[in-house]
């Protein structure tokens, strides 16, 4: 995300760049105020702890660790994971962009309902999605029970690919959707006016302008996929995380797992490099305030196809898991199980996620401004470290915090505060990603003007920059909230004793085949997460400046 403004548009994306490069270039060279760096450094402290811990472990690595690292199998799994991540990222980007365009640019009915339903798989823990797919398909699966017609089992690469795609495309959908709303519609209108087909307009005008948003969303997809263990292991696809978890389960020596986590970080850096390349050097802001674009009227076969695509996505991502969970619940109730609703788990999930979202939003402000508005090598590394933490398996981060917390944090160890800060650190990339994509669309001339009128650097940031990136920041906060709701590995190890969340309830029950008892908190998690999702999607209307 470290590409900002100040370069000439090299792909003809934004005519503004060609007109006034001088002013833009000056803004890019401006030095960041020191307090911004101090704030960003403070934000980075919790991210440095796990990285430093891994570094120390690697320095103390045993022979066993190097043997594991240099085995042919490790190399093979790295390649498998990278290929898998590429496949998931491409499919998630296609679905995410396609769904955003269909819901925003066409005159379809129930747009808002579709929008919420399409974003909803984000809140389903990917291992729950995997469990419901396993239970639904197969010769004796739920579908076979109901219809008498057995579907083949979906496992291995295909199953993992479908489940991870469904779990992650909402990242692209949400970030692209919010970018699409902010686009200056005049270019699209001009293209249409000149007789370009909707597809051509989309491909040549809309898509290039969406590149930073697509890249930001795809980056989250790729890093999430890379670090996922629950879903890929249930789907029996051998990924790199599998060796890391196996090292934790099967060894007293914990250095091999640390060395392998560092390999994951290196892969993440490759992904970050690829993202930077794909984003290009163009700029993406407009000088005009955006306004609503007249939606395309589609009829006949095209209309059916558009509805068909949206309904298919919703059925696979929400319909199938909800139907399976409901079937589990009904079967349990019919058997006479009592469904014991733990309200403590609900408040635990909501307060933990809310605190995480607020901390992440606060932390994202200095990081995003530094990386987008004051580009420098240091800012680029600041940005990268945020993404690197997002790509480390949560178990690794959690154990680092355990080590550090038990020695140095005293009563704060296993406290709600530390848990909330760890959540925010794990998911900070989602907040900076969304806020950065928003800020890239803001014309820096607005800030130039404020400075030109005698505003200080600080008051410009406070009164111009932050308000203009506010919507992106809120989207980021909502993403952090929704993903914290389903977080499990760090919660298990770092929560205050007795602190309960819905994700913990789902894990603890489903793990022992208590599917009926797992279904209730899983459905509740969905229902509760749908509320902020709905608010985020319906309240964040066009940027009315």
């Amino acid at each position: 995300m470290s590409l900002g403004v100040g370069q000439l548009g090299d792909r003809g994306v934004s005519p503004e760049a060609l007109r006034e490069p001088a002013i833009v270039a000056r803004s890019a060279q401006r030095r960041a105020p020191r307090w911004l760096w101090i704030a960003a450094a403070a934000v980075l402290v919790p991210a440095v702890v796990p990285l430093a811990f891994l570094g120390a472990r690697v320095l103390g690595a045993t022979d066993a660790a190097w043997q594991v690292l240099f085995s042919g199998r490790t190399f093979e799994l790295v390649l498998r994971s990278m290929a898998f991540t590429t496949a998931v990222t491409i499919s998630a980007a296609v679905i995410g962009v396609g769904a955003a365009w269909l819901t925003l640019r066409l005159d379809l009915a129930w747009r808002r309902t579709f929008t919420v339903l399409i974003a909803l798989p984000l809140v389903i823990p990917s291992y729950v999605l995997a469990l419901t797919f396993l239970s639904f398909f197969g010769p004796r699966g739920l579908f076979a029970d109901v219809t008498g017609f057995g579907l083949p089992s979906i496992t291995g690469f295909l199953g993992a690919w479908i489940v991870l795609t469904l779990s992650t495309y909402p990242y692209v959908f949400l970030i692209v959707r919010s970018a699409l709303r902010r686009l200056d519609p005049s270019l699209e209108e001009a293209a249409r006016g000149l007789g370009a087909s909707p597809w051509r307009t989309f491909r040549t005008i809309t898509l290039p302008q969406l590149r930073p948003a697509i890249a930001a969303g795809s980056l989250l997809v790729a890093l999430y996929t890379l670090s996922d263990f629950g879903a890929v292991s249930l789907m029996r696809f051998d990924a790199f995380t599998r060796v890391i978890y196996a090292q934790y389960a099967g060894r007293i020596d914990r250095t091999p797992a640390a060395v392998l986590a560092v390999v994951l970080i290196l892969i993440a850096l490759v992904v970050l490099w690829a993202e930077q390349r794909s984003r290009g050097r163009a700029q993406y802001f407009s000088r005009r305030p955006s306004r609503a674009l007249r939606r395309l009227v589609v009829t006949g076969r095209q209309r059916v196809a558009a509805y068909g695509a949206l309904v298919t996505i919703v059925l696979a991502g929400v319909g199938l898991p909800v139907a399976t969970l409901t079937a589990w619940l009904i079967r349990g109730l019919a058997r006479g199980d009592t469904i014991d609703m733990r309200w403590g788990a609900v408040t635990g999930s909501v307060t933990g996620s809310l605190a995480a979202a607020l901390i992440a939003m606060a932390a994202a402000v200095p990081v995003t401004i530094l990386t987008v508005r004051y580009r420098s090598r240091a800012a680029a590394w600041l940005d990268r470290s945020v993404y690197v933490v997002f790509s480390i398996p949560h178990i690794t981060v959690a154990l680092a915090v355990v080590f550090f917390g038990a020695q140095y944090l005293g009563p704060l160890y296993q406290s709600f505060t530390v848990l909330a800060i760890v959540y925010a650190t794990l998911f900070l990339a989602q907040a900076t990603g969304a806020a950065g994509a928003a800020l890239l669309q803001v014309n820096p001339h607005l800030e130039e003007a404020a400075r030109g009128l005698g505003r200080s650097e600080r008051s410009t940031i406070r009164e111009i920059t932050v308000p203009l990136m506010w919507r992106g920041l809120l989207t980021g906060g909502a993403l952090v909230f929704l993903t914290t709701m389903k977080e499990l590995p760090a919660t298990l190890l770092l929560r205050p004793t007795g602190f309960d969340t819905m994700a913990v309830r789902i894990w603890s029950t489903a793990n022992e085949f208590f599917y009926a008892r797992a279904a209730a908190p899983a459905l509740l998690l969905l229902a509760i997460s749908a509320i902020p999702m709905y608010l985020m999607l319906s309240r964040l209307r066009d940027p009315g400046t």
């Binding site: 939003m361 506010w470 590995p489 913990v504 085949f513």
Partner: protein, 332 residues
Amino acid sequence: MRGRLAFLFIPLALIAAACGGDDGDSITVYSGRSEELIAPLIEQFAEATGINVEVRYGDSGELAATILEEGANSPADVFFAQDPASLGAVAEGGQFATLDDRVLGQVSARFSDSAGAWVGVSGRARVVVFDTTELTADELPIDESAFTNPEWRGRIAIAPTNGSFLAFVAAKILLDGEPATLEWLRGMAANEAPTYPKNSAIVAAVDSGEVEAGLVNHYYLFRRIAEEGDVVAANHFLSGDSAASLVMPAGAGILASSDKSDAASRFIDFLLSADAQAYFATETYEYPLAAGVDADPSLPPLDTIETPNLDLSRLAEMLDRATDLVAEAGLL
């Protein structure tokens, strides 16, 4: 516009609000056994003794790693784990206190640590779970060695990353030696044994017709029956006196760093009491190991299982080797 930045102060408020308190008569248990199965038992203990129990539930292996990372500052008083390997890891790290002979004496010595760091609480037998629509019990071999034969290609599932499978491999190293164990693991890999992340996933896969059989612990099938009603999967107890017919205990130990060892030992006494042992027999379908309680009648009695003679304390020291061999065979 100023109002928008007010939220920056929320984290500060949160930090200020943080606190940590300690209750007098209260112990902290790290439990690798699931809340669904164990919480009722813990409530019984709290009611009977008035000792408040704070429980941190998690995965046994991850909790063992947590205790090792925490070192002497661990808030845990008791570690209650699913398998001897996780217990052994903490024992190897020197973080368990030695239990009283009075406690150790309640359980057959073969189910506890030989140095007295932890005591076995309930037993789980390694079995082959199989699909009764595809196989009959007499088609199954007497021990694990036959599963590397070509006729079993792709038909027998394993969970090579799971603690219980790794403990089985560690036991096999102790019983058959490293070369034979590696050869067997290579045979399983060559036979394309389908791999799953854990026992419950194998039982579900066998029951849903995805794979014919799998190497698991016996008690997952009973949970599956309770949840699904009719199942087509059944357990087969191997009879070959090999690692695959080992009975492995879930067990508990007291942390050396605990300053509440009295309350902690009362908790362990309770786990070995007739009430708790009967709970394991009827609710989790495990083998009770103390107080003379019998196993569920649907299980073969513990003394009829032909299980090899093995010092379980040595499993932990073989755990790293077991993981090495599993990796070397290409199963990770």
